[in-house]
Symmetry: C2
Subunit: 300 residues, 2 copies
């Protein structure tokens, strides 16, 4: 199957919606701290695909929920993702000068500003998750459950732990289990939380949430494997950063452990399992299905 | 007035309670990311006075609320405070090697680990603010309001903005207004939020919250002024870091702008205003009153 032009229209419309919402929900300060929000906006608008916020909306659609009232949640997920990239690019971490073809935040500003911009984005995400507009539409207990989900997926039981494990694995021979730990925590946890957040707010059943959770884990892992493959085979211009940087940093990657062909096979297997998890859903899950193909096929 | 031995017993008992709660509420990971929580615990247990968590409990007591059910909130505030110190000490920020007489997190571990430990503490704070035990005791809408309060005080409308302004002011001549902006955002906002959080959860009236808010701003500003004074006049051993480091970094401080005597006068004035704000409260606000004296008198 290949992706239809209709899907790319959908993607573009959603990206536009989210960009508008980010402009609305992430303020620009004037005065002595204006530089902080300038750096935050610089990185927020540096060409991200908006995968996580789009998943928030698509996850809700799959259970019959309206996307629009979820925009503060969608923006919160993009803030968390963007903060993680800013901190990840710092000299003490991955030390990357370019991201999506543009100078990284600490290059465009400076290290201190980049650290604070990341801290600001992470904190503001939780401000957005308690946004007054959400409380007008959804029961407070459901909003709390979503904050719990996201703070676990982004923190000690998810992304931050994955980043730590990823750094510690550099230059070492890792086992398949360690690699799975890294991918699951670093990448898949926040993607899964994005898929679930909107559906939870709209009161999806436990069964639906369980299926969406499976879908989220699978595309999350597939996403990271494809990322690792692209780092080896991608086009520098499309990639926006030097090819082979994982290899140079001796990062633990799927292709390093299982070869390029093994990695491609695993990504396809995960795609099929993600689609399988969606089988109880009807056409309302079409966007999620298309996104799964998109995750696999972007520049593969 | 001088502080009674009873107050120091109270302080010690509360510090003990909070230390126990931190051990309980901030997990230690085993496995590939164990180093992350090791660094978090290192900084959490590096000799902090626990002012903010104690204020959470004392603020609740002032409106007749029990302190014990608030421990997840108290710990969340200490996590946020500790993350801010870890990031503030980084080479790209204040570049401090010592804090409370011990190596700073990036010295005891490394920069990458320190960045992630800060990120982990900040994210875990929001996990604690959605703790199941809170939801069993308090209405979900009140918990949401507290998360909103704290995410504002720690983020773009508080601490992170204050840190940005503080860094940008280094080496520059700042106006009294800019200094007030820095103190209010960098320090006072989170202290005020600590005073309010527990009282809000226990359903304090708008009038009580308004008075506690005034108290919080006043002691927050007093705290920062005293900090600036101690940096000039303190005992290196008690301080746990070199004296005069603000001067060396050309930081914007109250003594730099108004002289030591002017700073001492302002701190006393703020103490009196803080006590004045507490006048509608009876003996249940005794801890808050004592804490105000304590903020002013610690090693002045």
């Amino acid at each position: 199957m290949s992706l239809s032009p209709a899907f790319f229209d959908y993607l573009k419309a959603r990206q536009h919606l989210i960009n508008q919402a980010l402009t609305r929900f992430v303020p620009r300060l004037s005065g002595p701290a204006a530089r902080l929000t300038e750096a935050m906006h610089y990185s927020l608008f540096a060409g991200g695909k908006r995968l996580r916020p789009i998943l928030v909306l698509a996850g809700a659609e799959a259970v019959g929920g309206e996307p629009e009232p979820l925009l503060p949640v969608a923006c919160a997920l993009e803030c968390i993702h963007t903060y993680s990239l800013i901190h990840d690019d710092l000299p003490a971490m991955d030390d990357d000068d370019l991201r999506r073809g543009k100078p990284t935040c600490h290059k465009a500003f400076d290290e201190a500003t980049a650290i604070l911009a990341g801290d600001g984005l992470l904190t503001h995400a939780f401000r957005l998750l308690t946004h007054e507009e959400l409380e007008e539409r959804f029961p407070a207990a459901r909003i709390l459950a979503v904050i719990r989900l996201i703070s676990e997926a982004a923190g000690l039981f998810g992304m931050v732990a994955g980043q730590m494990a990823d750094l510690l694995a550099e230059g070492k021979k890792v086992s398949p289990e360690e690699l799975f730990f890294i991918h699951r925590h670093k990448t898949a946890a926040l993607i899964r939380a994005s898929v679930l957040a909107g559906a939870m707010l709209w009161g999806a059943t436990e069964e639906s949430l369980e299926k969406l959770s499976q879908y989220g884990w699978k595309i999350g892992h597939a996403f990271q494997i494809v990322d690792d493959i692209l780092d080896l085979t991608g086009d520098e211009k499309t990639l926006g950063k030097p090819v082979g940087s994982d290899l140079e940093k001796k990062k633990a990657t799927y292709p390093a452990l299982f070869g390029l062909e093994g990695a491609r096979e695993e990504a396809k297997k995960l795609l099929n399992e993600a689609l399988e998890a969606l089988s109880p859903f009807g056409t309302e899950a079409t966007p999620l299905r298309d996104i799964a193909y998109y995750v696999l096929e972007r520049k593969l």
